[in-house]
């Protein structure tokens, strides 16, 4: 399988940082440096991702899950480390790109679906307009073509295309997530980031959206990073999983193995409590 993404020793520190930030924080301690008070949101995070693969990132609140995808999606600059994105025969050094290059990848080759639909959608414009924006950024300027593409995407994500001219506020939470997914898929990105996309939704709505995500993976061979604290989501979606605690990966491997035979005491507790 084709490699899409390779992350090496990624770190993200909020604060001024000091010499002992990394030595004094970690899974057995906390993520706040006692020396300088900086938050070590992530440290020494390494992993790779292949075409069509879903990688789960699991861990309790504050463990650094979102930090990883936010930096890869350029929402936050990385502090250290290196990340390579492989696309159409080119390698992009993600943490070294300028703003225009970041914008180009973000708007066309990556897709992001946030837990909070307000972060992923512009609530002042129609659902179709949100999808149109992504297509316009990608350089399409043909009104009818944009509209029919938006229609197809909404159909695919099971939002009634007749409602495409309504503003997202009129939609249920589940539908807002579907619009976000439609928008993310608009440019056929090879890589999708999903940050707690089903958190807070009704169980039946959650199940339908998780199904949709799996269908997309099968149909489009999209690689995905799925961030969640929900073991059920991990079990259903992720081929491989990283378990994070206080900014560090404490366990990584095939999801089935991690769930059957967790090595780290923390993971064992997580799995046990979810049974």
């Amino acid at each position: 399988m084709k490699k899409i993404l390779e992350v090496n020793s990624f770190s993200k520190v909020y604060g001024s940082g000091c010499d002992c930030c990394f030595a004094e924080t970690g899974p057995e301690r906390t993520n706040i440096c006692p020396g300088c008070g900086s938050v070590v949101a992530a440290h020494d995070v390494s992993f790779s991702l292949h075409q069509g693969e879903i990688l789960g990132i699991m861990g309790e609140s504050g463990s650094g899950k979102s930090t990883v995808v936010k930096s890869l999606f350029f929402d936050e600059p990385a502090s250290w480390g290196q990340a390579s994105f492989y696309d159409n025969g080119s390698r992009y050094d993600l943490f070294e790109l300028n703003r225009a290059q970041q914008r180009q990848l973000r708007s066309q080759r990556f897709g992001m679906v946030y837990q909070n639909p307000h972060l992923g959608l512009n609530f002042a414009i129609s659902a179709g307009g949100n999808i149109a924006e992504r297509l316009l950024v990608a350089g399409d300027s043909h009104y009818q073509r944009i509209r029919s593409r938006a229609q197809d995407l909404l159909q695919r994500t099971e939002v009634l295309p007749e409602r495409m001219d309504e503003i997202p506020r009129n939609f249920s939470g589940g539908m807002q997530q579907r619009v976000q997914i439609a928008k993310a898929l608009a440019t056929d990105p090879p890589l999708l980031f999903l940050d707690e996309v089903t958190t807070g939704l009704d169980l039946s709505v959650q199940a339908a959206i998780l199904d949709l995500i799996l269908e997309i993976q099968h149909e489009l061979q999209t690689a995905m990073i799925v961030v969640t604290h929900d073991l059920g989501v991990i079990r259903l979606l992720a081929d491989r999983t990283l378990v994070m605690k206080y900014g560090r990966i404490i366990e990584a491997g095939l999801t089935d193995q991690i769930l059957e035979d967790p090595q780290h005491a923390y993971t064992q507790r997580l799995v046990a409590s979810a049974l």
């Binding site: 414009i125 316009l136 950024v137 043909h142 009818q144």
Partner: protein
């Protein structure tokens, strides 16, 4: 240095005028780019054309002929005030209402109907220079967007317009791309006037006093209103319900930008050229023709 009423020629001190001229040169070198300058206090409120006025004062010299228009008229209060101010502070200049006689035309809301030539300078007064301010509140982010020609969100607005109203409803300040890169707010001229900026022989300078920005559409430069490939930009057509082009009730012109009046006695809608100088010219021409006919 010539003195008048205790003020230097052009009211502004030489340093201020030089700064405006430097900004103008930069604006011409970067077509459509909003060049910041330290807009001076003028003895009239900002928002009354002080951006345009500072350009005029910094660029006009003795022997030049000035025309000032507001809404197409040389006689509106605003135009009269601005013109008197320049006359008062710039001894040796002449003024005119005739477009073809003017070497410098300062205008609000209109570009003259008569095509300008390469010896003429058009100064437009701008209240809101940045077309991105409707989609992005942060000026820092807007600057980056201009730098990267990141204008998709302006097209999103057009998209939403078409969805809601079945057509593009922007009547004034139509976002226009200059020389293939920067998109400008072409000041509150109607859509009708935007094509006049395209490949114009005259240099157009735009000044925003309150927002402290100067930008330019240099001569013979592309000025292209943004649009979709399949829904092209179009100007107001001034057609009646039967699809016939309305005519100016005064001069009979069928091609000019028309103002709408309500006749106070009949209550009827009347249409007349907004550009008075143009209307006068057409009127003289038709009267002349009639005389020749007899």
């Amino acid at each position: 240095m010539s003195q008048n009423n205790g003020y230097p020629f052009g009211f502004l001190d030489e340093y201020a005028k030089k700064e405006v001229r430097r900004s103008v040169l930069k604006a011409i070198a970067l077509p459509g780019y909003q060049v910041p300058y330290s807009s001076r206090e003028m003895p009239m409120g900002r928002g009354f054309g002080t951006g345009g006025l500072q350009l005029t004062l910094a660029l006009i010299g003795p022997g030049e002929v000035l025309k000032v228009i507001d809404q197409g008229s040389d006689d509106s209060v605003n135009a009269v005030n601005l013109r008197s101010f320049v006359e008062l502070t710039c001894p040796g200049i002449a003024t005119t209402a005739k477009t073809e006689e003017a070497s410098l035309i300062q205008s609000r809301h209109r570009i003259p109907e008569k095509a300008l030539n390469d010896r003429q300078l058009l100064v437009l007064q701008v209240p809101y220079p940045d077309p991105l301010s409707v989609v992005e509140p942060s000026e820092d982010r807007r600057k980056a967007m201009h730098g990267e020609a990141d204008y998709a969100r302006l097209l999103v607005k057009l998209y939403e317009d078409i969805v809601k109203f079945k057509e593009i409803t922007i009547s004034h300040r139509y976002p226009t791309r200059i020389n293939g890169h920067y998109i400008i707010d072409p000041s509150p001229i109607p859509r009708f006037d935007v094509p006049k900026l395209h490949q114009s022989a005259a240099l157009a300078l735009l000044g925003a006093g309150r927002e402290k920005k100067i930008y330019a559409v240099p001569p013979y430069t592309d000025a292209v209103p943004i649009a979709f490939d399949d829904i092209p930009f179009r100007i107001e057509d001034f057609n009646d319900d039967q699809g016939r082009r309305r005519t100016c009730q005064r001069c009979g012109c069928q091609t000019s930008y028309l103002d709408e009046f309500i006749d106070s006695t009949s209550g009827e809608k009347l249409y007349q050229c907004s550009d008075i100088d143009w209307c006068n010219d057409q009127l003289t021409a038709t009267q002349h023709l009639e005389e020749v006919d007899i």
